[in-house]
Symmetry: D2
Subunit: 142 residues, 4 copies
Amino acid sequence: MTLAERFAATFDGQGAMRTIGAQLAAIDEGSCVLELPYSDAVTQQHGFFHGGIIGMLADVAGGCACATMTPEGAQVLTVEYKINFLAPAAGVTLRATGRVIRAGRTLLIAAVDVATISAEGAIKQVAVAQQTIMAVPPDRLA
Amino acid sequence: MTLAERFAATFDGQGAMRTIGAQLAAIDEGSCVLELPYSDAVTQQHGFFHGGIIGMLADVAGGCACATMTPEGAQVLTVEYKINFLAPAAGVTLRATGRVIRAGRTLLIAAVDVATISAEGAIKQVAVAQQTIMAVPPDRLA
Amino acid sequence: MTLAERFAATFDGQGAMRTIGAQLAAIDEGSCVLELPYSDAVTQQHGFFHGGIIGMLADVAGGCACATMTPEGAQVLTVEYKINFLAPAAGVTLRATGRVIRAGRTLLIAAVDVATISAEGAIKQVAVAQQTIMAVPPDRLA
Amino acid sequence: MTLAERFAATFDGQGAMRTIGAQLAAIDEGSCVLELPYSDAVTQQHGFFHGGIIGMLADVAGGCACATMTPEGAQVLTVEYKINFLAPAAGVTLRATGRVIRAGRTLLIAAVDVATISAEGAIKQVAVAQQTIMAVPPDRLA
Protein backbone atom coordinates (compact mmCIF):
# COMPACT_ATOMS: atom_id res chain seq x y z
CA MET A 1 0.00 0.00 0.00
CA THR A 2 1.18 3.51 -0.72
CA LEU A 3 1.07 6.19 1.97
CA ALA A 4 -1.97 7.75 0.30
CA GLU A 5 -3.78 4.39 0.28
CA ARG A 6 -2.88 3.62 3.89
CA PHE A 7 -4.19 6.94 5.08
CA ALA A 8 -7.25 7.13 2.82
CA ALA A 9 -8.63 3.95 4.40
CA THR A 10 -8.32 5.39 7.90
CA PHE A 11 -9.62 8.72 6.80
CA ASP A 12 -12.75 7.25 5.18
CA GLY A 13 -13.52 5.53 8.46
CA GLN A 14 -13.79 8.82 10.34
CA GLY A 15 -17.40 9.96 10.33
CA ALA A 16 -16.41 13.37 11.64
CA MET A 17 -14.14 14.00 8.65
CA ARG A 18 -16.92 13.08 6.21
CA THR A 19 -19.32 15.30 8.17
CA ILE A 20 -17.22 18.40 7.70
CA GLY A 21 -16.06 17.46 4.19
CA ALA A 22 -12.29 17.33 4.78
CA GLN A 23 -10.15 15.88 2.00
CA LEU A 24 -6.61 14.53 1.81
CA ALA A 25 -4.73 16.90 -0.52
CA ALA A 26 -1.17 15.60 -0.22
CA ILE A 27 0.80 13.17 1.88
CA ASP A 28 4.47 12.29 2.10
CA GLU A 29 6.83 10.88 4.70
CA GLY A 30 6.53 13.25 7.63
CA SER A 31 3.93 15.57 6.18
CA CYS A 32 0.24 15.71 5.36
CA VAL A 33 -2.01 18.36 3.81
CA LEU A 34 -5.77 18.40 4.33
CA GLU A 35 -8.25 20.71 2.66
CA LEU A 36 -11.79 21.63 3.55
CA PRO A 37 -14.10 23.51 1.15
CA TYR A 38 -16.13 26.35 2.61
CA SER A 39 -19.79 25.66 3.34
CA ASP A 40 -22.46 26.76 5.80
CA ALA A 41 -21.77 23.53 7.67
CA VAL A 42 -18.42 24.74 8.99
CA THR A 43 -19.04 28.37 9.95
CA GLN A 44 -19.12 30.43 13.10
CA GLN A 45 -21.64 33.24 13.65
CA HIS A 46 -19.94 35.71 11.30
CA GLY A 47 -19.63 33.35 8.37
CA PHE A 48 -15.91 32.56 8.78
CA PHE A 49 -14.59 29.03 9.20
CA HIS A 50 -15.37 27.99 12.79
CA GLY A 51 -12.43 27.89 15.20
CA GLY A 52 -13.46 24.41 16.30
CA ILE A 53 -13.32 23.23 12.69
CA ILE A 54 -9.86 24.80 12.31
CA GLY A 55 -8.69 22.97 15.43
CA MET A 56 -10.18 19.72 14.17
CA LEU A 57 -8.50 19.98 10.77
CA ALA A 58 -5.18 20.87 12.42
CA ASP A 59 -5.45 17.91 14.80
CA VAL A 60 -6.06 15.45 11.97
CA ALA A 61 -3.36 16.93 9.71
CA GLY A 62 -0.77 16.59 12.46
CA GLY A 63 -1.86 13.07 13.36
CA CYS A 64 -1.79 12.10 9.70
CA ALA A 65 1.74 13.46 9.26
CA CYS A 66 2.85 11.40 12.27
CA ALA A 67 1.07 8.30 10.97
CA THR A 68 3.39 8.33 7.95
CA MET A 69 6.34 7.71 10.28
CA THR A 70 5.00 4.87 12.40
CA PRO A 71 5.13 1.15 11.56
CA GLU A 72 2.29 -0.14 9.40
CA GLY A 73 -0.54 -1.30 11.63
CA ALA A 74 0.36 1.03 14.47
CA GLN A 75 -2.34 3.39 15.68
CA VAL A 76 -1.74 7.07 16.33
CA LEU A 77 -3.48 8.76 19.25
CA THR A 78 -3.52 12.47 19.91
CA VAL A 79 -2.09 13.05 23.37
CA GLU A 80 -2.65 16.81 23.23
CA TYR A 81 -2.49 19.80 20.98
CA LYS A 82 -2.34 23.58 21.35
CA ILE A 83 -3.53 26.00 18.73
CA ASN A 84 -3.21 29.78 18.33
CA PHE A 85 -5.58 31.64 16.05
CA LEU A 86 -3.92 34.41 14.05
CA ALA A 87 -6.64 35.96 11.89
CA PRO A 88 -10.30 35.53 10.89
CA ALA A 89 -10.57 32.51 8.59
CA ALA A 90 -12.26 33.83 5.45
CA GLY A 91 -11.84 32.01 2.14
CA VAL A 92 -13.12 29.28 -0.12
CA THR A 93 -10.78 26.60 1.19
CA LEU A 94 -9.21 25.85 4.57
CA ARG A 95 -5.85 24.08 4.33
CA ALA A 96 -3.99 22.42 7.21
CA THR A 97 -0.38 21.35 6.68
CA GLY A 98 1.07 19.04 9.31
CA ARG A 99 4.74 18.12 9.55
CA VAL A 100 6.64 15.96 11.99
CA ILE A 101 9.33 17.80 13.91
CA ARG A 102 10.42 14.89 16.11
CA ALA A 103 9.67 11.22 15.62
CA GLY A 104 10.42 9.06 18.64
CA ARG A 105 9.52 5.41 19.06
CA THR A 106 6.56 6.16 21.32
CA LEU A 107 5.92 9.88 20.93
CA LEU A 108 5.92 12.10 17.86
CA ILE A 109 5.70 15.89 17.83
CA ALA A 110 4.09 17.73 14.94
CA ALA A 111 3.75 21.37 13.92
CA VAL A 112 0.70 22.40 11.92
CA ASP A 113 0.02 25.54 9.89
CA VAL A 114 -3.54 26.36 8.89
CA ALA A 115 -4.26 28.79 6.06
CA THR A 116 -7.21 30.01 4.07
CA ILE A 117 -7.22 30.23 0.28
CA SER A 118 -9.34 32.94 -1.31
CA ALA A 119 -11.29 32.61 -4.55
CA GLU A 120 -8.39 34.42 -6.22
CA GLY A 121 -5.86 31.97 -4.79
CA ALA A 122 -4.44 34.22 -2.08
CA ILE A 123 -3.08 32.24 0.86
CA LYS A 124 -3.29 33.63 4.40
CA GLN A 125 -2.09 31.88 7.56
CA VAL A 126 -4.89 31.76 10.13
CA ALA A 127 -3.66 29.38 12.84
CA VAL A 128 -0.61 27.54 14.10
CA ALA A 129 -0.61 24.42 16.25
CA GLN A 130 1.77 22.18 18.12
CA GLN A 131 0.82 18.59 18.85
CA THR A 132 1.95 15.44 20.67
CA ILE A 133 1.03 12.09 19.16
CA MET A 134 1.45 8.62 20.68
CA ALA A 135 2.18 5.62 18.49
CA VAL A 136 0.61 2.43 19.76
CA PRO A 137 2.19 -0.65 18.17
CA PRO A 138 -0.16 -3.31 16.76
CA ASP A 139 0.68 -5.77 19.56
CA ARG A 140 -0.30 -3.26 22.26
CA LEU A 141 -3.74 -2.54 20.81
CA ALA A 142 -6.38 -4.16 22.97
CA MET B 1 -32.46 39.00 27.65
CA THR B 2 -31.43 36.21 29.96
CA LEU B 3 -28.01 34.61 29.63
CA ALA B 4 -29.59 31.58 27.96
CA GLU B 5 -31.34 33.80 25.42
CA ARG B 6 -28.21 35.86 24.71
CA PHE B 7 -26.16 32.77 24.06
CA ALA B 8 -28.81 30.79 22.18
CA ALA B 9 -28.97 33.48 19.49
CA THR B 10 -25.22 33.34 18.92
CA PHE B 11 -25.18 29.60 19.10
CA ASP B 12 -27.91 29.20 16.48
CA GLY B 13 -25.86 31.33 14.14
CA GLN B 14 -22.94 28.89 14.16
CA GLY B 15 -23.33 26.48 11.24
CA ALA B 16 -20.61 24.25 12.64
CA MET B 17 -22.50 23.74 15.91
CA ARG B 18 -25.65 22.73 14.05
CA THR B 19 -23.60 20.42 11.84
CA ILE B 20 -22.31 18.41 14.76
CA GLY B 21 -25.53 18.69 16.77
CA ALA B 22 -24.20 20.45 19.87
CA GLN B 23 -26.75 21.76 22.36
CA LEU B 24 -26.61 24.26 25.20
CA ALA B 25 -27.34 22.27 28.38
CA ALA B 26 -26.75 24.89 31.07
CA ILE B 27 -25.39 28.40 31.39
CA ASP B 28 -24.69 30.65 34.33
CA GLU B 29 -22.40 33.55 35.09
CA GLY B 30 -18.92 32.20 34.46
CA SER B 31 -19.91 28.73 33.31
CA CYS B 32 -21.44 26.92 30.36
CA VAL B 33 -22.30 23.28 29.67
CA LEU B 34 -22.68 21.93 26.14
CA GLU B 35 -23.84 18.46 25.19
CA LEU B 36 -23.50 16.51 21.98
CA PRO B 37 -25.43 13.31 21.31
CA TYR B 38 -23.48 10.42 19.80
CA SER B 39 -23.94 9.80 16.07
CA ASP B 40 -21.93 8.49 13.13
CA ALA B 41 -21.38 12.11 12.16
CA VAL B 42 -18.96 12.75 15.03
CA THR B 43 -16.83 9.60 15.15
CA GLN B 44 -13.22 8.68 14.54
CA GLN B 45 -12.24 5.38 12.91
CA HIS B 46 -12.95 3.21 15.97
CA GLY B 47 -16.42 4.57 16.60
CA PHE B 48 -15.50 6.84 19.54
CA PHE B 49 -16.21 10.56 19.56
CA HIS B 50 -13.59 12.18 17.31
CA GLY B 51 -10.80 14.10 19.03
CA GLY B 52 -11.42 17.05 16.74
CA ILE B 53 -15.06 17.11 17.81
CA ILE B 54 -14.00 16.99 21.46
CA GLY B 55 -11.67 19.93 20.90
CA MET B 56 -14.40 21.84 19.08
CA LEU B 57 -16.94 21.31 21.86
CA ALA B 58 -14.36 22.30 24.48
CA ASP B 59 -13.47 25.47 22.56
CA VAL B 60 -17.09 26.57 22.33
CA ALA B 61 -17.90 25.70 25.95
CA GLY B 62 -14.99 27.79 27.19
CA GLY B 63 -15.82 30.69 24.90
CA CYS B 64 -19.45 30.53 25.98
CA ALA B 65 -18.50 30.61 29.67
CA CYS B 66 -16.37 33.69 29.01
CA ALA B 67 -19.15 35.35 27.00
CA THR B 68 -21.29 35.37 30.15
CA MET B 69 -18.78 37.72 31.79
CA THR B 70 -18.32 40.29 29.04
CA PRO B 71 -20.49 43.37 28.39
CA GLU B 72 -23.57 42.75 26.25
CA GLY B 73 -22.70 43.30 22.62
CA ALA B 74 -19.03 42.42 23.07
CA GLN B 75 -17.69 39.63 20.92
CA VAL B 76 -15.51 36.82 22.26
CA LEU B 77 -12.66 35.50 20.14
CA THR B 78 -10.62 32.42 20.91
CA VAL B 79 -6.97 33.47 21.12
CA GLU B 80 -5.76 29.92 21.75
CA TYR B 81 -6.53 26.70 23.54
CA LYS B 82 -4.70 23.57 24.60
CA ILE B 83 -6.35 20.23 25.17
CA ASN B 84 -5.16 16.96 26.68
CA PHE B 85 -6.99 13.75 25.90
CA LEU B 86 -7.30 11.41 28.86
CA ALA B 87 -9.25 8.36 27.66
CA PRO B 88 -11.17 7.03 24.62
CA ALA B 89 -14.45 8.92 24.35
CA ALA B 90 -17.11 6.21 24.33
CA GLY B 91 -20.69 7.03 25.37
CA VAL B 92 -24.08 8.26 24.25
CA THR B 93 -23.40 11.90 25.12
CA LEU B 94 -20.32 14.12 25.10
CA ARG B 95 -20.46 16.91 27.69
CA ALA B 96 -18.12 19.93 27.86
CA THR B 97 -18.17 22.13 30.94
CA GLY B 98 -16.42 25.46 30.64
CA ARG B 99 -15.71 27.78 33.56
CA VAL B 100 -13.93 31.11 33.76
CA ILE B 101 -10.90 31.10 36.01
CA ARG B 102 -9.84 34.68 35.38
CA ALA B 103 -11.89 37.48 33.84
CA GLY B 104 -9.88 40.52 32.82
CA ARG B 105 -11.13 43.48 30.83
CA THR B 106 -9.49 42.31 27.61
CA LEU B 107 -8.53 38.69 28.23
CA LEU B 108 -10.39 35.87 29.96
CA ILE B 109 -8.98 32.46 30.85
CA ALA B 110 -11.21 29.39 30.95
CA ALA B 111 -10.78 25.79 32.04
CA VAL B 112 -12.85 23.13 30.32
CA ASP B 113 -13.58 19.53 31.33
CA VAL B 114 -14.97 17.13 28.76
CA ALA B 115 -16.71 13.91 29.81
CA THR B 116 -18.68 11.12 28.22
CA ILE B 117 -21.96 9.85 29.64
CA SER B 118 -22.81 6.20 29.06
CA ALA B 119 -26.28 4.80 28.38
CA GLU B 120 -26.36 3.86 32.08
CA GLY B 121 -25.47 7.40 33.13
CA ALA B 122 -21.85 6.76 34.06
CA ILE B 123 -19.70 9.88 33.68
CA LYS B 124 -16.07 9.58 32.62
CA GLN B 125 -13.66 12.47 32.09
CA VAL B 126 -12.06 12.24 28.64
CA ALA B 127 -10.30 15.56 28.10
CA VAL B 128 -9.20 18.73 29.85
CA ALA B 129 -8.51 22.07 28.20
CA GLN B 130 -7.17 25.51 29.02
CA GLN B 131 -8.15 28.47 26.90
CA THR B 132 -7.50 32.18 26.36
CA ILE B 133 -10.38 34.33 25.13
CA MET B 134 -10.28 37.96 23.98
CA ALA B 135 -13.24 40.25 24.57
CA VAL B 136 -13.74 42.80 21.79
CA PRO B 137 -15.99 45.67 22.89
CA PRO B 138 -18.83 46.67 20.53
CA ASP B 139 -17.12 49.93 19.59
CA ARG B 140 -13.96 48.10 18.49
CA LEU B 141 -15.74 45.68 16.17
CA ALA B 142 -15.01 46.67 12.59
CA MET C 1 11.97 4.97 51.39
CA THR C 2 9.04 7.26 51.93
CA LEU C 3 7.71 9.41 49.11
CA ALA C 4 9.37 12.46 50.64
CA GLU C 5 12.73 10.67 50.82
CA ARG C 6 12.44 9.36 47.25
CA PHE C 7 11.75 12.79 45.89
CA ALA C 8 14.18 14.71 48.09
CA ALA C 9 17.09 12.77 46.64
CA THR C 10 16.08 13.62 43.07
CA PHE C 11 15.33 17.17 44.00
CA ASP C 12 18.72 17.76 45.63
CA GLY C 13 20.36 16.59 42.42
CA GLN C 14 18.80 19.39 40.38
CA GLY C 15 21.20 22.33 40.26
CA ALA C 16 18.51 24.57 38.81
CA MET C 17 16.23 23.98 41.82
CA ARG C 18 19.02 24.88 44.25
CA THR C 19 19.83 27.94 42.15
CA ILE C 20 16.35 29.39 42.49
CA GLY C 21 15.85 28.14 46.06
CA ALA C 22 12.80 25.92 45.55
CA GLN C 23 11.77 23.67 48.42
CA LEU C 24 9.55 20.63 48.73
CA ALA C 25 6.63 21.65 50.97
CA ALA C 26 4.38 18.60 50.77
CA ILE C 27 4.12 15.38 48.84
CA ASP C 28 1.54 12.63 48.70
CA GLU C 29 0.39 10.02 46.20
CA GLY C 30 -0.62 12.02 43.14
CA SER C 31 0.25 15.47 44.44
CA CYS C 32 3.24 17.66 45.22
CA VAL C 33 3.63 21.17 46.62
CA LEU C 34 6.76 23.25 46.03
CA GLU C 35 7.54 26.62 47.57
CA LEU C 36 10.00 29.31 46.58
CA PRO C 37 10.87 32.25 48.85
CA TYR C 38 11.01 35.67 47.22
CA SER C 39 14.45 37.09 46.48
CA ASP C 40 16.10 39.34 43.92
CA ALA C 41 17.33 36.19 42.23
CA VAL C 42 13.90 35.29 40.90
CA THR C 43 12.44 38.59 39.76
CA GLN C 44 11.42 40.21 36.50
CA GLN C 45 11.97 43.90 35.80
CA HIS C 46 9.13 45.14 38.05
CA GLY C 47 10.15 43.14 41.09
CA PHE C 48 7.50 40.42 40.77
CA PHE C 49 8.35 36.73 40.54
CA HIS C 50 9.61 36.12 36.98
CA GLY C 51 7.25 34.30 34.62
CA GLY C 52 10.03 31.93 33.67
CA ILE C 53 10.52 31.04 37.33
CA ILE C 54 6.78 30.46 37.70
CA GLY C 55 6.83 28.14 34.69
CA MET C 56 9.85 26.31 36.07
CA LEU C 57 8.27 25.76 39.48
CA ALA C 58 5.03 24.59 37.82
CA ASP C 59 6.91 22.16 35.60
CA VAL C 60 8.74 20.58 38.53
CA ALA C 61 5.64 20.43 40.76
CA GLY C 62 3.70 18.59 38.06
CA GLY C 63 6.55 16.22 37.33
CA CYS C 64 6.99 15.56 41.03
CA ALA C 65 3.28 14.76 41.44
CA CYS C 66 3.53 12.29 38.56
CA ALA C 67 6.70 10.74 39.98
CA THR C 68 4.71 9.64 43.03
CA MET C 69 2.61 7.38 40.79
CA THR C 70 5.33 5.65 38.78
CA PRO C 71 7.25 2.51 39.79
CA GLU C 72 10.31 3.10 41.98
CA GLY C 73 13.33 3.60 39.75
CA ALA C 74 11.35 4.92 36.81
CA GLN C 75 12.32 8.31 35.49
CA VAL C 76 9.80 11.01 34.65
CA LEU C 77 10.38 13.24 31.63
CA THR C 78 8.39 16.34 30.79
CA VAL C 79 6.92 15.86 27.32
CA GLU C 80 5.32 19.29 27.27
CA TYR C 81 3.50 21.84 29.37
CA LYS C 82 1.31 24.85 28.83
CA ILE C 83 0.91 27.67 31.32
CA ASN C 84 -1.44 30.64 31.55
CA PHE C 85 -0.50 33.62 33.69
CA LEU C 86 -3.45 35.10 35.59
CA ALA C 87 -2.06 38.00 37.63
CA PRO C 88 1.22 39.71 38.60
CA ALA C 89 3.07 37.44 41.03
CA ALA C 90 3.69 39.62 44.07
CA GLY C 91 4.31 38.02 47.46
CA VAL C 92 6.84 36.58 49.86
CA THR C 93 6.38 32.99 48.70
CA LEU C 94 5.54 31.35 45.38
CA ARG C 95 3.70 28.02 45.77
CA ALA C 96 3.09 25.48 42.99
CA THR C 97 0.67 22.63 43.62
CA GLY C 98 0.77 19.77 41.12
CA ARG C 99 -1.78 16.98 40.99
CA VAL C 100 -2.14 14.02 38.66
CA ILE C 101 -5.37 13.97 36.71
CA ARG C 102 -4.66 10.85 34.66
CA ALA C 103 -2.01 8.22 35.32
CA GLY C 104 -1.40 5.86 32.42
CA ARG C 105 1.37 3.29 32.16
CA THR C 106 3.46 5.44 29.82
CA LEU C 107 1.94 8.92 30.02
CA LEU C 108 0.67 10.92 32.97
CA ILE C 109 -1.25 14.19 32.82
CA ALA C 110 -0.95 16.77 35.60
CA ALA C 111 -2.67 20.02 36.44
CA VAL C 112 -0.72 22.67 38.36
CA ASP C 113 -1.92 25.75 40.21
CA VAL C 114 0.59 28.43 41.14
CA ALA C 115 -0.19 31.00 43.84
CA THR C 116 1.58 33.74 45.70
CA ILE C 117 1.41 34.11 49.47
CA SER C 118 1.67 37.60 50.91
CA ALA C 119 3.43 38.58 54.15
CA GLU C 120 -0.03 38.57 55.77
CA GLY C 121 -0.77 35.06 54.49
CA ALA C 122 -3.15 36.02 51.68
CA ILE C 123 -3.15 33.48 48.86
CA LYS C 124 -3.68 34.58 45.27
CA GLN C 125 -3.67 32.33 42.23
CA VAL C 126 -1.22 33.62 39.61
CA ALA C 127 -0.91 30.84 37.04
CA VAL C 128 -2.43 27.56 35.93
CA ALA C 129 -0.67 24.85 33.92
CA GLN C 130 -1.41 21.57 32.19
CA GLN C 131 1.37 19.07 31.61
CA THR C 132 2.18 15.76 29.95
CA ILE C 133 4.78 13.53 31.61
CA MET C 134 6.37 10.34 30.27
CA ALA C 135 7.36 7.55 32.62
CA VAL C 136 10.46 5.69 31.49
CA PRO C 137 10.81 2.33 33.23
CA PRO C 138 14.22 1.48 34.74
CA ASP C 139 14.93 -1.17 32.08
CA ARG C 140 14.43 1.37 29.27
CA LEU C 141 16.80 3.97 30.67
CA ALA C 142 20.10 4.48 28.83
CA MET D 1 17.99 54.04 21.41
CA THR D 2 18.73 51.02 19.25
CA LEU D 3 16.75 47.83 19.69
CA ALA D 4 19.69 46.24 21.47
CA GLU D 5 19.92 49.18 23.91
CA ARG D 6 16.16 49.19 24.56
CA PHE D 7 16.13 45.53 25.36
CA ALA D 8 19.40 45.43 27.29
CA ALA D 9 18.00 47.87 29.85
CA THR D 10 14.94 45.71 30.47
CA PHE D 11 16.99 42.57 30.49
CA ASP D 12 19.45 43.87 33.09
CA GLY D 13 16.51 44.61 35.35
CA GLN D 14 15.45 40.97 35.48
CA GLY D 15 17.06 39.32 38.48
CA ALA D 16 16.04 35.90 37.24
CA MET D 17 17.95 36.35 33.97
CA ARG D 18 21.10 37.36 35.85
CA THR D 19 20.63 34.41 38.19
CA ILE D 20 20.72 31.87 35.39
CA GLY D 21 23.28 33.78 33.33
CA ALA D 22 21.26 34.38 30.15
CA GLN D 23 22.69 36.75 27.58
CA LEU D 24 21.26 38.64 24.62
CA ALA D 25 23.00 37.22 21.52
CA ALA D 26 21.10 38.96 18.72
CA ILE D 27 18.04 41.12 18.27
CA ASP D 28 16.26 42.47 15.22
CA GLU D 29 12.74 43.58 14.35
CA GLY D 30 10.58 40.56 15.09
CA SER D 31 13.30 38.27 16.38
CA CYS D 32 15.52 37.74 19.41
CA VAL D 33 18.23 35.23 20.26
CA LEU D 34 19.24 34.46 23.85
CA GLU D 35 22.11 32.26 24.95
CA LEU D 36 22.85 30.60 28.26
CA PRO D 37 26.23 29.02 29.05
CA TYR D 38 26.16 25.63 30.73
CA SER D 39 26.84 25.53 34.47
CA ASP D 40 25.84 23.47 37.49
CA ALA D 41 23.36 26.23 38.30
CA VAL D 42 21.04 25.30 35.44
CA THR D 43 21.00 21.49 35.50
CA GLN D 44 18.49 18.75 36.20
CA GLN D 45 19.45 15.55 38.00
CA HIS D 46 21.29 13.99 35.03
CA GLY D 47 23.44 17.00 34.28
CA PHE D 48 21.48 18.24 31.27
CA PHE D 49 20.02 21.74 31.04
CA HIS D 50 16.90 21.77 33.26
CA GLY D 51 13.54 21.74 31.47
CA GLY D 52 12.41 24.65 33.61
CA ILE D 53 15.43 26.66 32.49
CA ILE D 54 14.68 25.80 28.86
CA GLY D 55 11.09 26.99 29.31
CA MET D 56 12.30 30.16 31.00
CA LEU D 57 14.76 31.00 28.22
CA ALA D 58 12.08 30.28 25.59
CA ASP D 59 9.58 32.51 27.38
CA VAL D 60 11.98 35.44 27.51
CA ALA D 61 13.20 34.99 23.91
CA GLY D 62 9.63 35.07 22.61
CA GLY D 63 8.70 38.05 24.76
CA CYS D 64 11.84 39.87 23.63
CA ALA D 65 11.04 39.23 19.95
CA CYS D 66 7.57 40.66 20.51
CA ALA D 67 8.95 43.67 22.39
CA THR D 68 10.77 44.71 19.21
CA MET D 69 7.40 45.21 17.52
CA THR D 70 5.56 47.24 20.14
CA PRO D 71 5.68 51.02 20.62
CA GLU D 72 8.55 52.32 22.74
CA GLY D 73 7.45 52.45 26.36
CA ALA D 74 4.89 49.68 25.99
CA GLN D 75 5.25 46.70 28.29
CA VAL D 76 5.01 43.11 27.11
CA LEU D 77 3.33 40.55 29.34
CA THR D 78 3.34 36.80 28.75
CA VAL D 79 -0.28 35.66 28.52
CA GLU D 80 0.65 32.02 28.10
CA TYR D 81 3.11 29.67 26.45
CA LYS D 82 3.30 26.02 25.56
CA ILE D 83 6.54 24.10 25.13
CA ASN D 84 7.37 20.64 23.80
CA PHE D 85 10.66 19.02 24.71
CA LEU D 86 12.25 17.11 21.84
CA ALA D 87 15.53 15.70 23.17
CA PRO D 88 17.82 15.77 26.22
CA ALA D 89 19.52 19.17 26.38
CA ALA D 90 23.24 18.39 26.47
CA GLY D 91 25.76 20.99 25.36
CA VAL D 92 27.92 23.93 26.36
CA THR D 93 25.36 26.55 25.34
CA LEU D 94 21.57 26.71 25.28
CA ARG D 95 20.19 29.01 22.57
CA ALA D 96 16.58 30.21 22.30
CA THR D 97 15.46 31.93 19.11
CA GLY D 98 12.14 33.75 19.27
CA ARG D 99 10.35 35.15 16.24
CA VAL D 100 7.02 36.94 15.92
CA ILE D 101 4.52 35.16 13.71
CA ARG D 102 1.64 37.59 14.20
CA ALA D 103 1.79 41.13 15.56
CA GLY D 104 -1.58 42.60 16.47
CA ARG D 105 -2.20 45.84 18.29
CA THR D 106 -2.94 44.11 21.60
CA LEU D 107 -1.75 40.54 21.16
CA LEU D 108 1.38 39.14 19.55
CA ILE D 109 2.10 35.48 18.83
CA ALA D 110 5.64 34.14 18.85
CA ALA D 111 7.29 30.86 17.93
CA VAL D 112 10.46 29.84 19.75
CA ASP D 113 13.06 27.22 18.90
CA VAL D 114 15.51 26.10 21.57
CA ALA D 115 18.73 24.33 20.64
CA THR D 116 21.90 23.16 22.31
CA ILE D 117 25.34 23.84 20.94
CA SER D 118 28.06 21.30 21.66
CA ALA D 119 31.73 22.06 22.36
CA GLU D 120 32.37 21.16 18.70
CA GLY D 121 29.68 23.58 17.50
CA ALA D 122 27.03 21.01 16.64
CA ILE D 123 23.53 22.43 16.94
CA LYS D 124 20.63 20.22 18.05
CA GLN D 125 17.02 21.35 18.49
CA VAL D 126 15.77 20.42 21.96
CA ALA D 127 12.46 22.25 22.36
CA VAL D 128 9.82 24.21 20.47
CA ALA D 129 7.37 26.68 21.98
CA GLN D 130 4.38 28.76 21.02
CA GLN D 131 3.54 31.89 22.99
CA THR D 132 0.93 34.64 23.35
CA ILE D 133 2.14 38.07 24.44
CA MET D 134 0.05 41.09 25.43
CA ALA D 135 1.27 44.61 24.68
CA VAL D 136 0.25 47.12 27.32
CA PRO D 137 0.54 50.72 26.06
CA PRO D 138 2.34 53.21 28.33
CA ASP D 139 -0.91 55.04 29.16
CA ARG D 140 -2.55 51.83 30.40
CA LEU D 141 0.26 50.88 32.78
CA ALA D 142 -0.46 51.22 36.50
